[in-house]
């Protein structure tokens, strides 16, 4: 018996992603990125991202079909990232997925893309795949979220998330005020490996006992960013 063949479309931020899986086997994963177009602006510009999605849409789907060596009519279902993300960007993928599902007469599944990040683990080629229930921590330029996953398809609970910037966003914003090229997070990450964690006293958000009441599982990084900005503005000699 063949496992279901599913094509997924992801357009929540600055990458147009099209993946094809058969059951838990990854057949294709094609990504078109508009990151370079955003570099000059020091961050993702939603309208530029949305325009790039529309331009990349057709080519990305076709490339994924070639990589997986399948035809669209072979598909059993379509999936699409339904959020969270940039609205104008998401709508490109959602509109595309809906029409594709109707054209093929196949079911469409809207997927919370945070769950998609966790679900990607079932596609791993080596090592042991995710065991449920599990607590997942998502950390990237777009996310800092803590999820309790009892079932990937039907039971995912958001325990907490950042109440301001994502962790990676804090990295990039700090890099920007240090004058590093975008995305500057990786530069900081690299030099931080040899850094002295006690050299400067920067705040850690939501670590006070009182924060446990309302923000037990939440995160906060904007205070850290502001503290770095103050430090940079009052110190003459800051270089990375």
């Amino acid at each position: 018996m063949n496992e279901p063949l599913v094509l997924g479309i992801e357009s929540s931020c600055d990458e147009t992603g099209v993946g094809i899986v058969r059951g838990n086997t990854l057949l294709a994963n094609v990504i078109a990125s508009s990151m370079e177009q955003h570099a000059v602006f020091g961050g993702v510009v939603p309208e530029i991202a949305a325009r790039a999605h529309l331009e990349a849409l057709r080519g990305t789907i076709e490339a994924a079909l070639r990589e997986a060596n399948i035809r669209l009519r072979d598909l059993d279902a379509i999936a699409v990232a339904a959020g969270p993300g940039l609205a104008g960007a998401l709508m490109v993928g959602v509109g595309a997925a809906k029409a594709l599902a109707v054209a093929l007469g196949k079911p469409l599944y809207g997927v919370n893309h945070l769950v998609g990040h966790v679900g990607a683990d079932v596609l791993r080629e080596d090592g042991q795949s995710i065991e449920l229930p599990t607590v997942a921590l998502l950390v990237s330029g777009g996310h800092t979220s803590l999820l309790l996953v009892r079932d990937l398809a039907t039971d995912v609970e958001l325990l907490g998330e950042t109440i301001d910037d994502a962790a990676g966003e804090a990295f990039d914003k700090v890099a920007r005020l240090l004058g590093l090229p975008y995305p500057g997070g990786p530069h900081i990450d690299r030099v931080a490996v040899d850094g002295d964690p006690a050299a400067i006293r920067f705040p850690r958000g939501l670590t006070l006992p009182k924060d446990l009441v309302h923000h037990r599982y939440d995160f906060s990084f904007s205070g850290l960013k502001t503290a770095v900005a103050r430090y940079v503005e009052t110190s003459d000699d800051v270089s990375v």
Binding site: V40, F41, G42, G43, V45, E47, I48, A50, R51, H53, L54, E55, L57, R58, I61, E62, L72, A87, G88, M91, V92, G93, V94, G95, A96, A97, K98, A99, L100, A101, V102, A103, L104, G105, L108, K173, R176, L177, L178, G179, Y182, K225, T226, A229, R230, V232, E233
Partner: protein, 196 residues
């Protein structure tokens, strides 16, 4: 049959051909992504055909508010891909100009700006361009090209306009939206103050 889609204003979807016209439309100018799939399904059901009865797709390229506009174009692209049929892009104003000998089609593109295109016998002779409410008469001779203001675009008329243009031999292969505006963004200029 031709599947025509326009989301440059509200959402309009039509299935046209063999003397049949089925149209699904709303005047809701916000929820394009909510309507698009349902409307495509509805026109197929109304005519009583399956998706393989569609032989070409026509999409409206705007001008219009960007987020909604892209929903229809994206849907047209994947429907055509899914059925392996051709897709044609047509300026949305073309649909409004159908049946007018000379006119200026005017639509609202938000931010107190208007988009306009002047037509003679269905052929665009000036525009599309942006203007403001008070200065339209400066941009175009409204006596020669009387103003036709549209708040919705009919996908059925878009299909008619596309057929007319294909008959004239026009190239309708470009699917680039008629944005008429650069994206809102200002380049970051070096270190940025975030405090104080």
């Amino acid at each position: 049959m031709i599947l025509a889609i326009d989301t440059s204003a509200a959402t309009s979807v039509a299935l046209v051909g063999d003397g049949i016209v089925a149209e699904a439309a709303t005047d809701d100018t916000r929820s394009h992504a909510e309507h698009i799939g349902v409307f495509i399904e509805r026109v197929l059901v109304d005519v009583g055909v399956t998706p393989d009865a569609v032989s070409a797709v026509v999409v409206g390229l705007g001008p219009g508010p960007f987020t909604g506009l892209r929903v229809g174009i994206a849907a047209g692209i994947t429907f055509a891909l899914g059925r392996d049929i051709p897709i044609y892009g047509v300026p949305s104003h073309d649909a409004v100009a159908v049946g007018h000998s000379a006119c200026t089609v005017v639509t609202d593109v938000r931010r107190r700006e208007l988009a306009w295109t002047a037509y003679r016998d269905g052929v665009a002779v000036n525009g599309p361009s942006l203007t403001t409410e008070g200065t339209l008469a400066v941009d175009v001779d409204l006596r020669e090209f009387p103003e036709v203001r549209a708040t919705t675009i009919s996908a059925a008329l878009l299909a008619t306009a596309a057929l007319n243009r294909i008959e004239r031999g026009d190239d309708l292969t470009s699917l680039t939206p008629l944005y008429l505006r650069a994206p809102d963004a200002t380049p970051g200029n070096g270190p940025k103050r975030v405090s104080g």
